[in-house]
């Protein structure tokens, strides 16, 4: 009896002395960047910005693979589309980008898009109706190209630029198309009043999946991220993402029920582009659209599809956000102010993480030149201004930190620059004073809830000499 009491006391003591940061390590969050310079032909510029991506503490870089730029304009006699060594292919720019990314310790995500003319379907309308590369990309041809792509970056393909120096780097992540719910990326979306794009895309996805896994068994195939907003009308040029996903995964209705599905979709990772026209915590107005805080509308569909055999192979599907951004002012007079830009970045990462998203890719690293197109048609969402100066968002990306009050506690969330201890500090009249200490695990994400005074105050996280941007804790109550 005494022993039992002692054991119980010890267990109680062990539970009592557990520090908040010593709780089960929170899920990780990989951060990625996309940028036009990554895919450019200027190798020196690309290498410089790849190094800056690493300096910003990115884990991933998204590299666009324009199929129509790598494949020949017309397949010559004897062209073997599955053979990436075929001389009709031009891989030089992509090889350089993959090499540069891996050299910086960044993990490339190869996103395939835009079919060559000869791999599009019959009865092609004018480019004004269906932009080049978007008309019925033929699944069989896409599969052949995907096989060549995956084999080239399987870790077993000799680097043609450095003979004898070893193979080209191995790539794990392949994304099949992008924003295929928009007519600027895939056509046709509709045939009369029938939604056809999701069915065609399913055939494309499955062909690519089988080919990529055949060439590179360790690869992970990512569904193309959909654009967040659609037009809930027959014949529109933008399909609402909820409609697209339901149709892709053979589900019907708002309480999705499975329907016949002879060829279920095959993928390893689900994805979406939850670009937001408002603040990160504010969702889309239409229930069929999916913005930053609405990702649950899609994850529930994917879970239902997995449970009913409509998403294969069986097993949980990680969910990624493959495009998110806000333009900043400056330079864009219509963007959001720099501090808010940085805050939106941190808060969007938290919003997505808490919905189970495992990776987020921010577009872009560097502001684009407005050129003749103007600010309204170019990305001014960079972590850096065009001339190379860092914005506050650069600091937020490298050390995101969010503080929210709720249920009598203050929630502190962030991703530390490295694993290990960090301190959360509170702003006082005399400077920054320690508020609590937190342990960031190997995934670097930390989450604690602490007791805090009722009034408004500012906090920041600090690890060594690196400090996050300050976050404001509002006065009063309110759930995070």
């Amino acid at each position: 009896m005494k022993r039992a009491a002692l054991a119980l006391t010890l267990v109680a003591l062990a539970l009592a002395v557990q520090a908040p940061g010593a709780a089960a390590a929170p899920r990780g969050l990989e951060l990625g960047l996309a940028d036009a310079t990554f895919n450019g032909s200027d190798g020196a510029l690309r290498d410089e910005w790849m190094a800056r991506a690493r300096g910003a503490r990115a884990d991933l870089v998204l590299l666009t693979v324009a199929w129509s730029s790598i494949a020949p304009k017309a397949p010559p006699a004897g062209f073997e589309a599955t053979d990436s060594a075929d001389p009709a292919y031009d891989w030089e720019t992509l090889d350089g980008a993959v090499r540069a990314a891996v050299a910086q310790g960044l993990e490339p995500v190869l996103s395939v898009n835009f079919a060559p003319r000869w791999a599009e379907g019959p009865n092609r309308p004018s480019p004004a109706v269906a932009p080049a590369g978007t008309w019925l990309p033929q699944p069989a041809e896409l599969g052949r190209f995907a096989q060549a792509l995956a084999a080239r970056y399987s870790g077993g393909f000799a680097d043609p630029a450095n003979p004898g120096a070893g193979p080209l780097p191995s790539v794990r992540y392949f994304q099949v198309w992008a924003e295929q719910n928009l007519s600027v990326h895939l056509n046709p979306l509709w045939e009369g009043d029938k939604l056809v794009a999701p069915l065609h895309y399913r055939a494309m996805l499955n062909a690519a999946y089988l080919a990529i896994h055949a060439a590179n068994p360790g690869a992970r195939v990512i569904v193309g991220g959909l654009a967040p907003y659609g037009d809930a009308a027959v014949g529109g040029s933008r399909i609402p993402p909820v409609w697209f996903w339901r149709s892709l995964l053979c589900l019907r209705g708002s309480e999705p029920r499975p329907v016949d599905c002879p060829e279920p979709a095959h993928f390893d990772i689900a994805a979406h582009n939850p670009i937001n026209v408002w603040a990160p915590s504010r969702g889309a107005v239409n229930p069929l659209d999916v913005s930053t805080p609405d990702v649950g509308r899609l994850t529930s569909i994917v879970r239902r599809a997995v449970a009913t055999g409509r998403a294969l192979p069986a097993g949980p599907k990680p969910f990624w956000a493959t495009e998110i951004w806000w333009d900043s002012n400056p330079p864009d007079p219509e963007g959001v102010p720099l501090r808010r830009h940085a805050r939106f970045l941190s808060e969007s990462l938290f919003e997505l993480w808490r919905q189970g998203v495992g990776a987020v890719i921010w577009w872009f690293l560097r502001d684009q030149s407005p050129g003749s197109a103007g600010f309204g048609a170019t990305q001014q969402s960079g972590l850096f201004f065009r001339e190379g100066r860092a914005k506050p968002a650069h600091r937020a990306f490298g050390f995101p930190f969010v503080a929210r009050r709720g249920r009598g506690k203050v929630l502190l969330w962030g991703k530390a620059p490295s694993s290990g201890r960090l301190v959360v500090e509170r702003r006082t009249r005399h400077g920054w004073a320690p508020l609590t200490r937190v342990l960031a695990g190997s995934r670097r994400v930390f989450l604690v809830r602490i007791d805090a005074p009722e009034g408004a105050f500012r906090v920041r996280a600090r690890q060594g000499r690196l400090a996050s941007l300050p976050a404001r804790v509002a006065a009063g109550k309110g759930g995070p």
Partner: protein, 155 residues
């Protein structure tokens, strides 16, 4: 005293009417990400009286300034508040009654605009319930006011 009580009741009734949700058709129809007004794929279309469509929010706010509905300073100030500000400016632009604020010709009188708004075929607005609710509220407020007034006179 009696008039004061009546005034209170009337004010309450007016507040009730004003507090009712706006029909969807009277709301902003489209919101683009801040700074990407020309991007044609990332705007959010909100349900409207004529179904989903994509008018130019920027253009609407610019027109509102031009037509005197919004002063340039106010519009600039709202715009500096980011997407929320732009949305607010657009709401002001779209919901300004043409007859009252004068210059903005929106192709119809305020009653006509309201009638168009309640014809919304979508499921976001109140549809045909809106005028009914409006009328019921007005009748209830009037009845309440009369009852109060009578009670006060009798006493």
């Amino acid at each position: 005293m009696q008039f004061k009580a009546m005034r209170k009741t009337t004010t309450l009734a007016l507040l009730l009417v004003l507090a009712m949700p706006l029909p969807a058709g009277a709301a902003v129809r489209v919101v683009a990400p801040p700074g990407n007004s020309e991007a044609d794929q990332y705007y959010q279309t909100l349900p409207g009286a004529t179904g989903p469509r994509a008018p130019d929010a920027e253009k609407e706010t610019r027109d509102a300034v031009r037509d005197g509905v919004l002063s340039e300073a106010t519009e600039t100030s709202l715009r500096q508040r980011g997407p929320e500000g732009l949305a607010l400016a657009t709401v002001v632009a779209k919901t300004a009654p043409s007859g009252v604020l004068g210059a903005m010709d929106r192709g119809g009188s305020p009653p006509a605009s309201s009638a168009a708004a309640v014809r919304a075929p979508d499921d976001q607005g109140l549809g045909g319930l809106f005028p009914l609710a409006l009328a019921l509220t007005a009748v209830a407020a009037l009845a309440f006011a009369v009852a109060r007034w009578r009670g006060l006179v009798m006493r």
